[in-house]
Symmetry: C2
Subunit: 351 residues, 2 copies
């Protein structure tokens, strides 16, 4: 079933068939009818490979994400898929499991596929070798979640948000605020959030504590152990800032395991705003990223750039708004806390 068959059936040239499908306005209505009728009768579908070969455009977007096991990325992909479909594009996704080698391989495969552009979330935008390659290949691309001054990104200011969160916790009377994160080396977002935490703690004159845990496995046990060990110590945390919601949900469980009530004994805050956080008890207090919107915007930027043939630059980066979901997992620190107001002999300079 080719364009030739349709042209014979309709009694016109192949070029006319093509025009009917690609620039209908340039064909006389009568012929257009005939062509549509013939195409329908034969069940004709344009062959995309042939079109792509000819036009050098595939109307497909490559997508590279760390994993779909984290609802954040699943939601983002959903947003990407919706926007792409709306714009007449297909998507071709690959996951990397946070492994650099997989990032490179995915990008290579996608380039070979001839996708028109790429959307990607890399482990570390500053260190990524993939991006240089994309630039060299002149493939339009946009980063999601990653933030970097020299690349086009659709992201959020996680650093500032975490700083604000620390301030909020401090205002609730918390002095011992722990940060729990997955391996900092594995994600530049985690690093940024950690910096935000450090900044917030410094501003409040508090002493930062970091607990790095294995992200996918054994995180609950590690947190429970940590919380149990410090339970009776003066510097026992009364609040925990988790680098992401998956960790925060496990922290909720870890707290229960060691007999701490949330939020009465321990406040727990997350980052991401995955839908399931709202179904926890207590509902997770968290910084909400607009993941679907991030996906959507990244597609829109790319489609727009593709349409205008204007190369996407770092200057087109967008920072989307974050908001805090109140939830039920943070509360005022108890006055009767085991932690005294001035537990640290030095360094204390609370304004």
């Amino acid at each position: 079933m080719t364009i030739r068959d349709v042209s014979q059936e309709a009694g016109v040239s192949p070029a006319t068939i093509s025009r009917v499908f690609n620039a209908p306005d340039t064909v006389r209505p009568e012929l257009r009818q005939r062509v549509h009728a013939a195409a329908a009768a034969l069940g004709y579908r344009p062959n995309i490979s042939a079109r792509s070969l000819r036009t050098q455009r595939t109307r497909a977007l490559g997508v590279v994400l760390p994993t779909l096991a984290n609802p954040v990325f699943a939601e983002c992909l959903q947003g990407i898929a919706q926007a792409a479909t709306a714009a007449g594009y297909s998507i071709v996704p690959f996951t990397t499991d946070y492994q650099l080698a997989h990032e490179t391989r995915a990008a290579n495969l996608l380039l070979a596929r001839g996708v028109d552009a790429l959307i990607l979330c890399v482990a570390n935008a500053a260190r990524s070798t993939v991006l240089a390659r994309l630039r060299a290949a002149k493939s339009p691309y946009v980063l999601v979640y990653n933030r970097h001054a020299r690349h086009p990104c659709v992201s959020v200011d996680g650093r500032a948000a975490v700083t604000a969160l620390v301030a909020r916790l401090q205002a609730l009377g918390h002095r011992h605020i722990l940060m729990v994160s997955g391996a900092l080396a594995a994600s530049d977002r985690a690093q940024q959030r950690h910096r935000g935490y450090l900044q917030g703690m410094a501003a409040a004159g508090l002493k930062p504590q970091l607990l790095e845990v294995p992200f996918m496995d054994g995180a609950t046990e590690r947190m429970a152990q940590y919380l149990a060990a410090r339970r009776v110590m003066p510097q026992a945390p009364t609040a925990v800032v988790c680098s992401n919601d998956l960790l925060a949900i496990r922290c909720l469980r870890a707290a229960r395991q060691v007999g701490l009530r949330v939020p009465e004994d321990l406040s727990v805050a997350g980052f991401d705003g995955i839908a399931l956080g709202d179904d926890m008890t207590p509902a997770l207090s968290t910084i909400v990223q607009p993941s679907i919107e991030i996906g959507r915007r990244s597609v829109e930027l790319l489609v727009q750039a593709l349409a205008g043939a204007a190369p996407l630059r770092a200057g087109h980066s967008e920072t989307l708004a974050l908001h805090f979901r109140e939830g039920e997992s943070i509360a005022r620190a108890r006055a009767t806390s085991a932690a005294p107001t001035q537990p640290l002999p030095r360094r204390r300079t609370t304004p």
Copy 2:
């Protein structure tokens, strides 16, 4: 950067270049070296569109799933992605949000894209119009999660598993077991699980109760309201079988909202086995589907069929094993339950 450029650089014919990439054994080692060197030097990548046009194969698999917001499907897609990559295929996913019209559109777009085969999960395999079309188009396809005698499927026997679950609950002393489901009309899996429930209840001589709730929105409120209303009635459920884990997690919250302890006052069981269920407190007791494996197997079946050019038939369907994850959300019914042992005047025939 075409095959021609490489052929000139290497001083051989284009055909040889092609052979080096597609049938290396048919080319003398010396030439093979030269070609590889030339290709590397020029950074040559075979153009997939051209290859597809010529060979009529795209090495791409279309994937149609209801949504990525449900971790079950996100996990499955992850499995599909991994297996596809391993087999040298790309995937092109579409989501339908359980809407029939979207199923059709997705399939059409995928067919137009010329994917070599399709993996899909439809709302209702028996009523689907898409499948007939695929068959007509002679596109290989396999259903995931759906079960149907006339289509190739990779699925599980949810019905039997739920029947067994009811028996288990009965053995724990439960007599009033409620089933909570999303709209039954929206999913043949939900219907099968419900049938399993009915069968289990009938076998135990118990009276079934079904609560259909809006799946995505307001489910928690609806369940809380239901549980609160029956709290003091003799037929108050002591156990709830949820049609999926997302519902079960919300049920956990609904129970807390109305002051029921899980599992002491109310046992809650789910279906799906999403990873997050294990992070709940209490950890969700649930029937675990091997979602990643389902994805993987579906790819393998297709790739195998594609390689052998043997059409995939309903006879190739596979039923994967389900297992029960004990969790912490079910327990023996309390002897002091508000529900008497013989609450129902008729129908009582417990052995």
